[in-house]
Assembly symmetry: C2
Homo-oligomer: 341 residues x 2
DNA sequence: CTGAAAGCGCTAACAA
DNA sequence: TTGTTAGCGCTTTCAG
């Protein structure tokens, strides 16, 4: 026989039932807002709950229902992601909505090598998939509702919400061309990320559409860091045939380029037009407000939670994955002007 | 009678026991690395586990043991915290260590009004306590191991790890004075945060120690935002009796001040010395590298997890709370120089 | 060294 | 509308 434990610190549904003078089932019904409870009983239970400060054990609930409302947010821990505007915005958007929807947010800074313990997780949001495709595939095989954001995935049966990076970049560069620029450089982000690769694509597409030749020496590859942006900017500015405009894959890098340009005594924006990407609020300040591409990060974050929530609660598991591409918006401020002739 | 469910998708300890030809108890022992299991049985169980890809249900485990290794990180959702360098660094530090210690990290973007569901949480890290003291007190009353970071709490029986903001600010301003400055302004952060309030204290302390009178018109209160920093900087620069130095409560604001100063045509650092606080990497770039105060954010984050982990696993619940103040470090770069005479 | 069985706190099917 | 009861999957006691 098991020795009865001493008075447990936690108050359970039993205590509530006893105090309310009902069965635990009735208490359970009240907790779960099941309507078939007499008002009188409902009030007694509610009262007992209040008196006892009862909070249902989520573990027991989940064990009993087999359902979990834990949402895991998997963020690949690759170098540099944590210095991005992106990560925090995402966490903010997802965190806020989870809070609102009463979902528990489990944060998983993923080491791509280690598998995630999938048991007990209701759904997973993969914030980009850099080197952790295996984790995603694991989740899919296990049938855990998953959704990928910031990465348009076509070769896997999974819903994804992404930003139209190609379109955004295309529009940005096209705008530059419309202003009269022909010598347009590009400072890329980390090309292992789809976002950076696609922005590069958009850049190339815009040049091509306008019959402007792509010049390799105008392409500067970086890892998104300000340090590499600075190096790129220095090279760019000292080129014999200096570009008149540069499309930079992130605002924080664009700001760096702007700083370097000013240090070098270039007049901005007349001698160098700078186009960013992100709509990072930092771009607003500074002597020349940054023209940039706004991406709906918060919307992406929120939509992903909503969509995942749907997936989690949906009966029909065979729904086709949805693939969403969120449009960007060109934000015209001051840093891009027609080239000085 | 309950209708038997169809074949459940999840493999349970029963399946493992059946395949291994042992009892579930033995399986449980193997899982929990309890040594009293014959090697032969141990191997059979391990083999079955592997074959079935069994992962124990954390909910069942926690229900049975009453223990939880979930760490909740509570971040107050007050305006602006999400634009700070601080928040992301914290999440990064805490997230990484939780990962390493196999703790689940629950992220809780706290609305100060709503109570946290404390059930099932092993421990709580409060990232600052702005308007959510009630939540902290709740946790304490419930006996959940808790720890507060970035806020030195003396009136509550709770461990805390904080930064020596007074000391750091004192040292910074003292350095400015040592350089020969007498007219030193201060742009505060949001004074509802202890960090900002204490930096202000350190500033006042340094002036006092050096017999410099505090001039109210040299104090600019902000909410940490770059926008308010800009306004403050504009006022400051246009003062008839302009300060020769300014101590700014955050690097991102300091950078803003620097930008405004340069736009106004001030020579930096000779006409205005600027001291930041944070050691935000952004301060490194730009024409004049920012002199600032480094605070060990990552260390604070990591230490908090270690300490909490200790609290969680400790038997003796009556240990006195530890209160730790982490030292800061003055990082001398270029933005502070003796005043032009 | 092993296993039967009693919970952990809750939900849900069924009977009343 | 309510209560009884059988689990959910695991740990732990106690008797082999």
């Amino acid at each position: 026989m098991r020795i009865k434990k001493g008075p447990s610190k936690t108050v359970s549904i039993n205590d509530v039932a006893r105090l309310a003078g009902t069965s635990i089932t009735t208490v359970s019904r009240v907790i779960n807002k099941i309507p078939t409870v007499k008002e009188k009983n409902r009030l007694r239970v509610l009262d007992a709950v209040k008196q006892l400060k009862f909070q249902p054990s989520i573990f027991a609930q989940r064990l009993a229902t087999g359902k979990s409302n834990v949402v895991a947010l998997v963020i690949p821990r690759y170098e540099g992601i944590f210095y991005s505007f992106y990560a925090l915005e995402l966490i903010r958007g997802i965190g806020t909505l989870c809070e609102a929807l009463k979902l528990d947010l489990l944060l998983h800074l993923a080491d791509p090598k280690s598998a995630i313990n999938l048991k007990g997780i209701g759904g997973i949001i993969f914030a980009d998939i850099i080197s952790n495709r295996l984790q995603l595939e694991d989740a899919l095989v296990s049938g855990i509702p998953s959704i990928v954001i910031n990465n348009y995935v076509e070769d896997l049966e999974v819903s994804c919400i992404s930003i139209d990076n190609i379109g955004g970049a295309y529009e940005a560069v096209n705008y530059l061309i419309g202003l009269g620029h022909k010598k347009i450089a590009h400072i890329t982000g980390d090309l292992i990320t789809q976002a950076a690769a696609w922005r590069f694509e958009g850049y190339k597409k815009a040049l091509k559409k306008n019959n402007i030749e792509l010049r390799q020496e105008y392409i500067f590859k970086t890892d998104y860091s300000r340090g590499q942006a600075r190096q790129a900017a220095e090279k760019l500015i000292n080129m014999p045939d200096r570009p008149t405009a540069v499309f930079v894959a992130s605002d924080s890098m664009a700001l760096e380029v702007m700083a370097v340009a000013r240090e070098s005594g270039l007049k901005l924006p007349s001698e160098l037009s700078i186009m960013g990407f992100d709509d990072n609020p930092s771009g607003l300040y500074g002597p020349v407000a940054l023209t940039t591409v706004r991406q709906p990060l918060i919307k992406m974050a929120e939509d992903s939670v909503k969509e995942l929530n749907l997936l989690i609660s949906r009966k029909d598991k065979n729904a086709k994955p949805k693939r969403i591409l969120l449009p960007t918006e060109l934000v015209i401020r001051e840093s891009c002007q027609p080239p000085a002739h």
